[in-house]
C-alpha cells in the first residue's frame, strides 16, 4: 500500500518536472541549453540525488522522461555525442565519487560541454587489463603520471579522461591501482591518432609525460582503482550487448541489400543468407527478451550473451555481404585514406564494414574473455589456475 502511494507520488513528481521542462522548450533552443535545464530539473538521471541531475526516485522513471522528450521532438542525442561520459563515466562518478566531484563533472558532461574518454587499455596489457603499467607517484597534493594508453576513443576532443594507473607495484596487480580523472588539456598529455585497418583513426594513443593530477581528482581510495574500473566495464558490456534493434536492421540489412542489388538467386547463397538472417533475428529476440526480463526484475543468462553473439555474427554477416558483391567486393571505393573522424562512424561501404567488424570480437572485451565470463559468472564453472594472482605486480612475467 505504502509502496503504491510512494510510486504514485514519484511518478507525479517526475511528470511534473517533465511538464516544466517541456513547457519551456522551444525548437530554436540550443541543445546544450536544453540539456542544462533537463539536468537542473533532475531529469538527467532521475535516480541520482536532487542537485546532481536527479530526483532520488527509481531509475525506471527515466524511460518516461525519455519517451516524453522524444515525443516532444526535443534533443535526446547527448548520450550519443558523449557516450563514454554519459554511458560510462556518470555511473562511475556517482558510484565512487564525492558530492564535490559529482558537482564538478556531471552537469557539463550531460550537456556535452565537456567530452569524456576512457583510458584503460595499454599496449602491454591487452585483455589483462589489471596488468597496466602507467604509473602515478604522489607528490604532495598532486600525483605525477607517466605511461602510455591506447585504443582511446575520442581522446583528441575529450576534456576529461577516466584513468586507472598503478600506484603500488609491490602488491598483486589488482590491488595497486588507483583511478583518476585527468584533464586531457593538461601539460604532458599527448594524443596521437591510431590508424586502424580501415584507414580511419577512431582511436588514439595517449602518452603521459610527467602529467600532474590534483589529488582531488582521485576517484575512491588509493588502491581501489580495479574495483572502480570494473564498474566502468560492466556498464560498457551491458551497453554493447543490449542495443535493441528492429527486425532486419543492422548488418543483415546490408546483406539483404547486396542480395537484391546483385540479383542473386543461387539457392546455396540464399540458404546462407537465410541462416545469417535467422541467427541475427535470434540474437535480436534474445536482446529483446533480456531487456524485458531486466525491466521485469527477473534477469537471466539471456542478458549476458549479447556481446559475444553479436561480435561473431556481425563479423560473419559483414563478410558475407562482401562475398555477395563478387568482383565489386575486391574494390575499395575512394581508396584508403588515413583520417581522423570526430564522431563514431557507424557504417560505410560493405567492404569498410567488413574490415571494421574484425574488431568486434576484440573491443570492449575479447570474445575469449567474454566466454570466460559467461562460463565462470553465468554458468558457475571454476576459474583457471592463476599464476599471477598473489605475486607482486612487478614480479609477474609479461611481454
Amino acid at each position: 500500500m505504502t509502496d503504491t502511494i510512494a510510486a504514485e507520488k514519484a511518478e507525479a513528481l517526475v511528470t511534473g518536472k517533465i511538464d516544466e521542462l517541456l513547457s519551456g522548450y522551444d525548437p530554436s533552443m540550443d541543445p546544450q541549453e536544453f540539456w542544462g535545464r533537463q539536468y537542473d530539473l533532475g531529469l538527467a538521471w532521475v535516480q541520482y540525488p536532487e542537485g546532481f541531475g536527479g530526483l532520488g526516485v527509481s531509475p525506471k522513471y527515466q524511460s518516461i522522461v525519455q519517451r516524453r522528450i522524444e515525443a516532444a521532438g526535443a534533443p535526446t542525442w547527448n548520450r550519443q555525442i558523449n557516450l563514454l561520459g554519459i554511458g560510462m563515466g556518470a555511473g562511475v562518478i556517482s558510484a565512487h565519487g564525492t558530492a564535490e566531484q559529482m558537482r564538478k563533472w556531471l552537469r557539463p558532461m550531460f550537456t556535452t560541454e565537456d567530452m569524456w574518454c576512457q583510458l584503460f587499455s595499454e599496449p602491454g596489457a591487452g585483455s589483462d587489463l589489471a596488468n597496466l603499467s602507467a604509473k602515478a607517484v604522489r607528490d604532495g597534493d598532486e600525483w605525477i603520471v607517466n605511461g602510455q594508453k591506447v585504443w582511446t576513443t575520442l581522446a583528441h576532443i575529450a576534456k576529461w579522461g577516466m584513468l586507472p594507473v598503478r600506484t603500488d607495484p609491490d602488491v598483486p596487480k589488482h590491488k595497486g591501482i588507483t583511478y583518476f580523472i585527468v584533464d586531457m588539456e593538461a601539460d604532458g598529455v599527448d594524443v596521437r591518432p591510431l590508424y586502424q585497418i580501415t584507414g580511419e583513426a577512431e582511436f588514439n594513443e595517449v602518452f603521459f609525460d610527467d602529467v600532474r593530477i590534483p589529488d582531488e581528482y582521485r576517484l575512491d581510495d588509493v588502491g581501489a582503482g580495479w574495483r572502480v574500473s570494473m564498474t566502468t566495464l560492466m556498464n560498457e558490456r551491458v551497453a554493447i550487448g543490449s542495443r535493441s534493434l528492429p527486425r532486419g536492421s543492422g548488418s543483415i540489412k546490408d546483406a539483404i541489400r547486396a542480395w537484391r542489388e546483385y540479383e542473386h538467386d543461387d539457392p546455396a547463397l540464399r540458404d546462407e543468407l537465410t541462416r545469417l538472417w535467422a541467427e541475427w533475428e535470434a540474437l535480436r529476440l534474445t536482446v529483446e527478451r533480456a531487456n524485458q526480463m531486466r525491466k521485469a526484475g527477473i534477469p537471466g543468462p539471456e542478458g549476458s550473451t549479447g556481446k559475444l553473439a553479436w561480435a561473431d555474427l556481425n563479423k560473419a554477416i559483414t563478410a558475407f555481404s562482401v562475398e555477395l558483391m563478387g568482383w565489386d567486393g575486391t574494390l575499395y571505393p575512394g581508396g584508403y585514406e588515413l583520417h581522423r573522424p570526430t564522431e563514431f562512424e557507424d557504417s560505410g561501404s560493405p567492404q569498410r564494414n567488413f574490415l571494421r567488424a574484425r574488431a568486434n570480437s576484440i573491443e570492449g572485451g575479447t570474445s575469449e574473455i567474454m566466454r570466460n565470463i559467461l562460463g565462470e559468472r553465468v554458468l558457475g564453472l571454476p576459474g583457471e589456475p592463476r599464476v599471477d594472482k598473489d605475486l607482486p605486480w612487478k614480479e609477474v612475467p609479461r611481454g
Binding site: P246, E279, T286, L374, L379
Partner: protein, 378 residues
C-alpha cells in the same frame, strides 16, 4: 515487411505455476527409468501416465472451452511442451494434442468438434495424423494419395509412412487428394483394410508406424470439414507441429547444457575440474549462447501462433534455430562427458537421438530456411 509483432516473454504467474507443477510431475513420474522402460515397448506409452497428464490439464489447455477444453492459448501449451522435451516424455502427445486436435479445431465441422475434442481434452483419445508417403515429406505438395469416390463413400488406397504412434492411435486423421483438392479423413484404427506396422525408430521414445490403406471404405461422415479444403489446415498444423518441436528441443537442449555444466564442475582431470579448461568452458559458453537464442525463437513463435502471417516467419525460424542448437548441445554434451556420454547407460544418447530425429521431422533445417526465405521474400 510489416512491423514485427512484439510479444511478452515473461511468464504470467499462472504460466509459471504450470511450469513448476509440470516439471515436478515429470520428475516424479517420468524418470529416465520410466522413459527407458517405455522405449523398450512397441507402443511406447503408459495409459496411467497419459491419463494423469490429462488430469493435470495438459490435453485441454489449448482446446476451446466450448468443446470441453480449458481455452488457454498456445503459450500455456508451450510451457508443457518445453518440459516434456526436457523429460523426453514418451507418448502420442504431439500427434494427438498438437496435430490431430488442431486439425479438428481448424478444419472440422462443428459436430465433429463436439464429438472428438472433449475426448482429447479428457485424455480419452489418442490420435495421430498420417500425412506423408515418402522420406522427404514436409509440405502439402508432398501428399499424393488419392481418395476415390464410390457413391457416398470414399475409398482410400496407399501407404502413409512415418506416422507418429500410428499403431497406437485410436483415430487417424489422414490426408488424400479428392476431385476438389486436398481433404482430411477421420479413420478409426479398426477400419477394415487399414493396417499399421510399427517401424523401429532412431529415437525409440517416439514411436512410428507405416499405415497401409487397402481399399479402406469410409462414409461421408469421415470427411473432416468440407472436401478439398484441407490445404490451409495442414499447412497450419505443420507449422504448429514445428513450433511444438522447437519447444521440445529447447527443453532438451537446456537439459544438455545443465548436464554438461554439472560435469564440468564435478569431473576432475589433471587435478582440476574440467570446466576450468577453456576448451570446455568456452564450448559451454557457446552452448549457452545457442540455447538462449533457441529459447528466444521458440518462445516468440509460441506467442504469435495466432498471427498467421508472422507464423510463416516465426515457425521455420524457430525450427531451424532450435534444431541446430539442440543437435549441437547434445553432440557437445557427449564430447564433454567423454566416454561416459557414449554409453547406453548414460541418458545423453536419448537426447541426441531426439535432437537428430526432431530436426528431420516435417523438413530439416535447410527446408525450414527455404520456408523462411519464402516468407521473407528472399
Amino acid at each position: 515487411m510489416a512491423d514485427t509483432p512484439r510479444v511478452t516473454f515473461a511468464l504470467t504467474e499462472e504460466q509459471e505455476m504450470l511450469r513448476q507443477t509440470t516439471r515436478q510431475f515429470l520428475e516424479d513420474r517420468v524418470s529416465p527409468t520410466v522413459v527407458r522402460e517405455l522405449m523398450e515397448t512397441e507402443t511406447g506409452f503408459d495409459a496411467a501416465l497419459w491419463q494423469s497428464g490429462a488430469e493435470l490439464g495438459w490435453h485441454s489447455l489449448a482446446i476451446p472451452e466450448e468443446y470441453g477444453g480449458a481455452g488457454y492459448t498456445f503459450a500455456e501449451l508451450s510451457v508443457v511442451l518445453e518440459e516434456m522435451g526436457r523429460a523426453l516424455f514418451p507418448g502420442p502427445f504431439l500427434s494427438t494434442v498438437v496435430m490431430a486436435a488442431n486439425a479438428i479445431v481448424l478444419g472440422g465441422r462443428d459436430s465433429q468438434k463436439k464429438e472428438l475434442l472433449p475426448g482429447i481434452a479428457m485424455g480419452e483419445s489418442m490420435m495421430t495424423m498420417a500425412l506423408f508417403e515418402g522420406p522427404q515429406g514436409a509440405t502439402t505438395d508432398d501428399i499424393r494419395m488419392t481418395a476415390a469416390q464410390d457413391g457416398e463413400a470414399w475409398i482410400l488406397d496407399g501407404v502413409k509412412k512415418n506416422v507418429l504412434f500410428g499403431h497406437v492411435a485410436g483415430t487417424i486423421v489422414t490426408a488424400a487428394r479428392t476431385p476438389n483438392g486436398l481433404s482430411l479423413f477421420l479413420v478409426p484404427a479398426d477400419t477394415g483394410g487399414l493396417n499399421a506396422e510399427h517401424v523401429p525408430t532412431l529415437d525409440a521414445t517416439r514411436k512410428q508406424a507405416n499405415l497401409t490403406f487397402s481399399g479402406v471404405r469410409l462414409g461421408p461422415e469421415a470427411l473432416l470439414g468440407n472436401e478439398g479444403t484441407a490445404g490451409p489446415v495442414i499447412d497450419r498444423v505443420l507449422r504448429l507441429a514445428s513450433v511444438a518441436l522447437s519447444l521440445e528441443q529447447v527443453g532438451g537442449a537446456q537439459w544438455c547444457l545443465e548436464t554438461s555444466v554439472e560435469h564440468g564442475q564435478t569431473r576432475f582431470q589433471f587435478g582440476r575440474a574440467i570446466g576450468s579448461f577453456q576448451a570446455i568452458k568456452h564450448r559451454l559458453a557457446d552452448m549457452l549462447v545457442s540455447v538462449e537464442h533457441a529459447k528466444s525463437t521458440a518462445y516468440h513463435a509460441a506467442r504469435i501462433v495466432d498471427d498467421t502471417d508472422e507464423l510463416l516467419v516465426a515457425a521455420p525460424l524457430a525450427k531451424s534455430v532450435c534444431s541446430e542448437a539442440y543437435l549441437r548441445a547434445a553432440s557437445d554434451t557427449i564430447q564433454i562427458l567423454g566416454g561416459t556420454g557414449f554409453t547406453w547407460e548414460h541418458d545423453t544418447h536419448l537426447y541426441l537421438k531426439r535432437a537428430k530425429s526432431t530436426s528431420l521431422m516435417f523438413g530439416g533445417v535447410r527446408h525450414q530456411r527455404r520456408l523462411l526465405a519464402e516468407a521473407l521474400g528472399l
